[in-house]
Structure formats: structure tokens, C-alpha cells
């Protein structure tokens, strides 16, 4: 995993994120004044735009946006910014997966890069969201951070995102699974992903520490 915050100059927070061959730029602008129809009287409004690596946004991107929104909304301190707007734009540079079949790697890249960009922007957060992709192979083996080839031959694919508060994974924010699996698989995936996300969280804190020290 490779991250670089402050990648863009004209936004409040940004991050260039890459994992294997998935690459995305996240940009956060906010809190800013919303359009009249977006304004919420008591809390921060959230606008998320996802641009695919190739072509124009379709229903596929709307679906990813919907999931990113579900994950990011609970991490923001929404009531601190009434009548304001936070705009998150995600530009995929490389999908890293066959787009007609999968969206898992891009979804995780979008979530993780948004978290880095949000911290970079300085918007108040209640916690951070970090996620990972896991596939279960034909031979019932779990593979974290799979490649496109792994995804294609997997029996089931899973995206898991946890909320991290006080540097511990506390709440399951998202689990999105497709394929053929049973309840044991679900719990195995949750267990494995918690370990992975703990590791991601360690990297995250390490990164932010060096960043603050270099200020």
C-alpha cells in the first residue's frame, strides 16, 4: 500500500493511494457553503463523486458512491458543521480489476483514500474507516488484498470496513459479499479482516506521525 497526502494543492485535503494495481486520487473540500438543495439545517451535508478510470460514470459508480457514503457518514462529526457541505471527489487512475465483473478493489481504495484525505483536510472526525478485500478460493483459502486473477477464480468475494475509534476497530461499518459461501465463512472473513485492519491502522498512525513530525 502506498499513500501520499497533500497531493493536490487547491483542495483542503487530498491523497494519492495505490494498492497493487489499483490507484486513486481522493480530494476533500470542506466545510464549504452548500447549494441550497444540499443544505441540512442541523448537520454537515456530504457530496461524493466517483470518476472511473475509463469512460464516464455509470450506475456502477453510483453504487460505489452509495457504499462509500454509508461508510464515511458515521465517521464524520456531522453536527459540528450545520448548514455546511463536505465535497469528496474520487478519481480512479487504475481500476486494477476487470470492471465489468468487480468493484471490490476500487471500493476499498476509495474508502481508504478518503480516510487519509479527510484527516489531511482537518475536518472533525469521530473515528476513521479502514477496509480490506478478502476472497475465498475454491480450496477454501482466504486471500487478503487479492489480484484480479484471484477475484476471477474466487468462490466468494468480501469487502469489510471497520470503524476505528481510540485506535481499535470497534464497529463493523460495511460488509459486502458476493458469491457462494456459508455462515462460517462470514465469521472467518470478519475475523481475518479485523486482523488486517488492525495492521492498516498501525500503518495509518505511523504515516500520520511521520507527517506531523516533518511539519
Amino acid at each position: 500500500m502506498n499513500t501520499r497526502t497533500g497531493y493536490l494543492e487547491n483542495v483542503d485535503g487530498s491523497c494519492l493511494y495505490s494498492l497493487n494495481s489499483t490507484k486513486v486520487i481522493a480530494a476533500v473540500t470542506g466545510p464549504v457553503e452548500p447549494k441550497a438543495r444540499q443544505e441540512l439545517p442541523t448537520q454537515l451535508a456530504l457530496e461524493i463523486n466517483i470518476r472511473p478510470a475509463c469512460g464516464v460514470p455509470t450506475t456502477r459508480e453510483v453504487n460505489i458512491q452509495d457504499k462509500v457514503r454509508a461508510v464515511i457518514t458515521p465517521t464524520l462529526a456531522l453536527y459540528k458543521y450545520p448548514r455546511q457541505l463536505c465535497q469528496i471527489t474520487l478519481q480512479l487512475l487504475q481500476a486494477g480489476e476487470t470492471e465489468s465483473y468487480f468493484h471490490e478493489l476500487e471500493l476499498v481504495a476509495c474508502v481508504n483514500s478518503t480516510t487519509y484525505a479527510l484527516v489531511d483536510s482537518g475536518i472533525a472526525l469521530k473515528g476513521i474507516a479502514l477496509g480490506t478485500t478478502i476472497v475465498i478460493t475454491e480450496g477454501n483459502k482466504l486471500i487478503t488484498e487479492p489480484t484480479d486473477e484471484n477475484l476471477k477464480n474466487a468462490k466468494s468475494t468480501h469487502v469489510v470496513v471497520y470503524m476505528i475509534e481510540n485506535s481499535k476497530p470497534t464497529n463493523l461499518l460495511l460488509m459486502d459479499s458476493y458469491g457462494d459461501f456459508d455462515q462460517n465463512d462470514v465469521f472467518k472473513v470478519l475475523e481475518q479482516s479485523e486482523i488486517k485492519i488492525n495492521e492498516l491502522n498501525k500503518n495509518f498512525r505511523e504515516y500520520m506521525k511521520t507527517k506531523l513530525n516533518n511539519l
Binding site: 477464480n153 460495511l174 459461501f181
Partner: protein
């Protein structure tokens, strides 16, 4: 002292009838209901809405004299399968339509499997996603106004497409078109030969065009009277409709099987074009072969923390006492099956959606945890309920 008394105004608590409270403060209204042990719809916590399923009714088939079901002559673009599903007050109407496209992207797999259907049987259980297919669903939620599709409609359509593809219910193989040949016999009569028997297969193979076609299926899903989240209803309706799909058989006239034409474009290049006139048989159709053990049905659950302060029984007990509410009161988390109604939809932030086969395997599993904490026990409970629900719906679809 008298001053104080004069300036004291007696405050009457404002009270609203339940239906008005539900509009102004859906959150409080829901909590009050839950504290009494039932939901605003007066269902129990783990009670589903009743579901009625009818398949094939909207499809344009006519009953002929010999009682066999036939597709009317002007078919081809008309509905191939359909389902009308009613859950609570919501109607979902699904119509399956189809088309035929030319397969120009023949992969190596197809070439190899050409004459080797046995090999295909062996590899049938293989999970390689490129062997499977999906339908193209368009979801329309009718709200009595026109306009561009909403994000919800787009998200549900995309989720249906993804779930269907990854549930491996449709193989590309069953959608392949096996055209028959229309032959004019010596006595001038016309007959259509389909590659069903070995003998016929030889004839059609001899006249077989080099091109390949496959069916492509579309689903138009219309939702009427939406009262809450509708993904599970759309999925159940789509799966029921797919089971009623009959694909029309197609044929080619023997004279057209290998027809080549020279086309002159702007007088410069002469290109040889092959044209085939693929026709749909008005009387013959085959059932769409779904992979039976992949048929699954969806259900939705919500998880919410009970707010002890909204508990009506507590309110009555502590009428005049101004005790700190938090003391001794535990927050309980409950699972609600089949979320419905405005109050439940807006107040419940943690949801679980499970697509399960009756045998207990899952095809899609999605958890969104923005609100109440989702514990292992709650997950287990929803899993158990989803399997039961899936078995119930299977029975309903089978009895249609």
C-alpha cells in the same frame, strides 16, 4: 414570594395523536412503539410482511386448443417471463424481455467446448466468473412524478446485476442460441428442423452458419406504492420471474444459411458481408435453464438501540420524579425483520441484507453499520431468519 407565584405559568405538556407524532418525530414514535414490544406497523420484531407471488401472468402467451401454452405470433420482443409480487402494501411487477445478439467475442473456452459438452458438465461447478451471465435490470420506483432515475433506482439495478452475476445462476451456455433450419421439402411443404435428435443434429450441423448468437435478457422492474427499502422485493421478484422465462426457438432458412453479399462502400472497397436472417419460431419455446441450487431469496433486517428515555413504561413510573435517566437503565439492541415504513427506514441506520438459498448457502450478504453496533449474536439471528424466509418464499414460488 407572591411575586414568584404571579409570574409562574403553568405549562401543559403538548401531546399529539400517534399519527401526527409519527410525522413530526419518526424517531421518537418508533422508540415508543418498540418500548411496547411491537413496531409502528403493529408487527412483531421478527415478523415479516406477508408475501404473494404470481408468475407468468403478464407474459403474452395464448392458450391454444390443445391446451398447450404457446407464444403468440408477434412475439420476439414481447415479455418472455414475468412476476407480480405483493409484500405488505407494495407491488413489484417484473417483466423479462430479451433479444438476440451476435457473439463476436468468442473466447478460447467456447472453441474448446464446441464439441465437448461432457467437458462442460465437469467444469460446471468451476467458479470462473467469465462463464456466467446476468440479466440487465432496470428498476423504476413509481412515485407519481416524472424525471430522471434516482440514485436509489440506479443502486438497486446495479446491485441486482452484480448479485445475479456472482450467484452463478445463469451460465453463458444456456443463453447460447441453437438455431434450427427451415427446410422446403421436395413436395413443397415447409418444415423446421431443430437439433434435438441425433438425426436432426446432423442435418442442422451440415447447414449450420459459422456465426454464433446468444440471448440477452432484460428485466424491467416496476415498484408501486413504495413504503420502505425495496431491494429484497426486487430480487425475489426477479428470481421468480426468471423461473418462468421461456425462450423462443429460432431458425434460419436453409437458403440463407451461407449467404454472402458484396457490398460496395463509396465505390472503393468491396466487402463481403454475410447476412443471416435469424427468425423466432412463433410456436416453439424452451424453458430457461437456471442452476437450481443457486436459486436464492433475499430479506432485510434492521438493528436499532432501544432508547430507555423513550420507554413509555419508564415515563409513567417516573412521572414527577426528576431522576437521572441513565442510571440503572441498560440500552438494549433489537433486530427488526423486514424493515418497512418511514419511521423505520429513516431511524434505522444499521441494516443487514441477506440473500440465502434454502439450503443455507449465501449468495449475497451486505451489512451497513452506521448506527447500532452489530454484534455476532444479532448476525447469527438474522442468518437464521433469512434461511427460514428463503425456504418460505421457495415454497410460495413452487406452488405458483
Amino acid at each position: 414570594m407572591t411575586d414568584v407565584e404571579e409570574s409562574t405559568v403553568e405549562v401543559h405538556p403538548v401531546s399529539f395523536p400517534p399519527e401526527i407524532l409519527a410525522r413530526i418525530s419518526p424517531d421518537l414514535s418508533l422508540q415508543r412503539h418498540l418500548s411496547l414490544g411491537f413496531r409502528p406497523s403493529s408487527r412483531g420484531f421478527e415478523e415479516f410482511r406477508d408475501i404473494t407471488i404470481n408468475t407468468g401472468d403478464v407474459t403474452r402467451r395464448i392458450q391454444s386448443d390443445d391446451n398447450s401454452v404457446k407464444i403468440p405470433p408477434n412475439n420476439g420482443k414481447q415479455g418472455l417471463g414475468s412476476c407480480v409480487l405483493k409484500q405488505g402494501d407494495v407491488f413489484v411487477i417484473t417483466q423479462i424481455t430479451g433479444g438476440i445478439i451476435e457473439d463476436i467475442t468468442l473466447s478460447k473456452n467456447d472453441m474448446e467446448l464446441e464439441d465437448d459438452t461432457e467437458l462442460l458438465e465437469i467444469t460446471k461447478e468451476h467458479s470462473d466468473i467469465t462463464k456466467y451471465s446476468s440479466v440487465y435490470p432496470v428498476v423504476e420506483i413509481n412515485r407519481g412524478r416524472m424525471g430522471a432515475c434516482t440514485d436509489e433506482e440506479m443502486t438497486i439495478s446495479q446491485r441486482l446485476y452484480d448479485s445475479l452475476l456472482h450467484s452463478h445462476i445463469l451460465t453463458q451456455d444456456v443463453l447460447r442460441v441453437e438455431p434450427g433450419v427451415r427446410i422446403t421439402n421436395e413436395d413443397g411443404s415447409v418444415s423446421i428442423i431443430y437439433p434435438d435428435t441425433k438425426e436432426n443434429k446432423e442435418i442442422t450441423n451440415a447447414l449450420k452458419p459459422k456465426k454464433k448468437w446468444s440471448y440477452v435478457l432484460y428485466a424491467k422492474i416496476e415498484v408501486f406504492g413504495r413504503t420502505g427499502p425495496v431491494y429484497d422485493m426486487c430480487w425475489n421478484s426477479l428470481i421468480a420471474a426468471l423461473q418462468s422465462v421461456k425462450l423462443p426457438r429460432t431458425f434460419i432458412d436453409e437458403r440463407a444459411t451461407d449467404l454472402k453479399m458484396t457490398v460496395r462502400a463509396r465505390g472503393r472497397n468491396a466487402v463481403v458481408m454475410e447476412t443471416y436472417n435469424l427468425l423466432c419460431d412463433p410456436n416453439e419455446s424452451t424453458n430457461l435453464q437456471l442452476r437450481e441450487n443457486s436459486i436464492s431469496y433475499a430479506s432485510t433486517y434492521g438493528i436499532i438501540d432501544l432508547d430507555p428515555e423513550a420507554d413509555i413504561t419508564n415515563l409513567e413510573n417516573n412521572d414527577d420524579v426528576d431522576e437521572p435517566m441513565d442510571e440503572g437503565l441498560e440500552t438494549k439492541t433489537v433486530l427488526l425483520a423486514d424493515i418497512d415504513g418511514e419511521a423505520e427506514e429513516t431511524s434505522i441506520k444499521s441494516t443487514i441484507s441477506i440473500t440465502a438459498c434454502p439450503n443455507g448457502r449465501f449468495k449475497q450478504f451486505s451489512v451497513v453499520g452506521g448506527g447500532a453496533k452489530i454484534t455476532k449474536e444479532l448476525l447469527m439471528r438474522s442468518i437464521t431468519l433469512s434461511k427460514q424466509r428463503s425456504r418460505d418464499i421457495t415454497l410460495k414460488v413452487q406452488t405458483v
